[in-house]
């Protein structure tokens, strides 16, 4: 257990230090949301209607932005070799790395979402509802990204390939995330769509680390 704690602490420490890029994602998220009114026009009714979609797209792209560092930085300096060789099961090690990544990049997106929602003319209740759907859905984004990162880890400049690999797989998350947000904004309590979103995240908690570990073991 202390080995996994050590890995979690180290990855979070690296993320918040120089060059870690923990807050790049949330800044990018802010930029995307701020630029939308310039693109579609500042009509409050329109912004309110598309706000959940904008917040979800922004969060999706922002979480993609930082994914390429998830495993590549450890691959480049040889740390990944030692992690693969260690006595800690690789599935748990990559799951902990994904957790550290989510805590430093996914969670800030969730926390920023209510504020950004109000910039898009959502009321406080609706903003918080959208943030809750992000809380349920962003772990799935990180875990799908983990598999993509493991597959592309041995490639030089694999970042673009990673985006192409991962984006199609995130479509179900996007569909149910936006649907759950729209339900919540329109006043319906969290129902089927939100439950499915949680289900997708839970399924990825199981599949993601196992698939990533498999990919890493076969990478040469």
């Amino acid at each position: 257990m202390s080995a996994l704690t050590a890995l979690l602490v180290r990855d979070m420490r690296l993320a918040v230090r120089v060059g870690g890029g923990a807050f790049m994602g949330v800044l990018f998220f802010l930029m995307v949301v701020v630029m939308v009114p310039f693109a579609v026009g500042p009509e409050p009714a329109l912004l309110q209607r598309i706000a959940p979609a904008i917040l979800w797209l922004g969060a999706l792209l922002a979480s993609l932005l930082t994914l390429d560092r998830l495993l590549v930085s450890d691959q480049e300096d040889g740390s990944l070799d030692l992690i693969v060789m260690g006595r800690v099961p690789l599935e748990l090690a990559v799951a902990v790395k994904a957790l550290a990544h989510w805590l430093t990049t996914g969670l800030p997106l969730v926390m920023a979402a209510p504020v950004l929602g109000m910039m898009l003319n959502l009321n406080l209740r609706a903003s918080i509802a959208v943030a809750l759907t992000l809380l349920a859905g962003t772990p799935a984004l990180t875990l799908i990204g983990l598999v993509g990162a493991a597959l592309s880890v041995t490639l030089r400049r694999g970042g673009l390939l990673l985006a192409v690999l991962v984006l199609p797989l995130t479509i179900p998350i996007l569909i149910f995330g936006v649907a759950a947000s729209n339900d919540a904004v329109s006043g319906a309590m969290f129902g089927t769509t939100f439950t499915i979103l949680c289900g997708l995240s839970l399924a990825n908690v199981v599949i993601g680390p196992a698939a990533a570990a498999l990919a890493l073991r076969h990478a040469e």
């Binding site: 080995a3 050590a6 890995l7 870690g20 300096d77 040889g78 070799d81 693969v84 060789m85 006595r87």
Partner: protein
């Protein structure tokens, strides 16, 4: 404990790097792997460490912990130092000790032995190549593993560092360890067996 291989073949990128390789290293013994560039020295070490697939043949350990693979009982010191520039010297070492399980000498002692005492709060980004190598060596001391796989361990080390490395390796062999080292130059191990790659090999 004994590490042995027979009729080992390594294929990388569709090209056969070596074939029909055999060796055996027992407790307290060192195997020095030599050969021209591209003969497969690093590939052999990475194969023992589990990073390169065994194409055919047998690579196994006898004795040691039956629940652990050869890789899990090995230290791998490759060309890369596995250090994070934004972490300090002691944070880097402490992470590996906690992640890999410790069991060796205390961290402060390990840093002193490799000559890095007094630098423990310095970010690893400011270390020289030789100091980075010394910090990697401290990992071998602070985390206990019976098998040491060393790929060009003397690279970037100064004369004093190389002498210290030779002492550390001899100490490891005396305490029942086992070393497989790839090298071009002398390592300071008198009684080591030699395995020449890229030449007709008799088992």
């Amino acid at each position: 404990m004994r590490l042995f291989a027979s009729d080992l073949t390594c294929v990388r990128g569709g090209r056969e790097v070596f074939a029909g390789l055999g060796f055996a290293v027992a407790q307290g013994e060192a195997l020095v792997v030599t050969g021209r560039n591209g003969a497969g020295k690093s590939s052999l070490l990475r194969m023992i460490a589990g990073h390169v697939r065994v194409a055919s043949g047998r690579l196994d350990i006898e004795g040691g912990d039956p629940d652990l693979t050869a890789a899990e009982q090995s230290h791998y010191l490759g060309h890369l130092d596995a250090l994070k520039p934004s972490l300090s010297v002691s944070e880097n070492l402490q992470f590996w000790v906690r992640y890999l399980g410790g069991g060796g000498i205390p961290q402060e002692t390990a840093l002193r032995v490799v000559g890095l005492d007094g630098l423990s709060d310095l970010p690893a980004a400011y270390l020289s190549a030789g100091q980075r190598r010394r910090l990697s060596l401290a990992r071998l001391l602070a985390v206990k593993r019976p098998i040491w796989l060393l790929d060009e361990p003397t690279s970037a080390l100064d004369a004093a560092g190389q002498a210290r490395l030779a002492e550390l390796m001899q100490g490891h062999l005396r305490t029942g360890g086992l070393i497989v080292a790839a090298t071009h130059g002398p390592l300071g191990l008198e009684a080591a067996k030699e395995l020449r790659l890229g030449e007709p090999n008799t088992q």
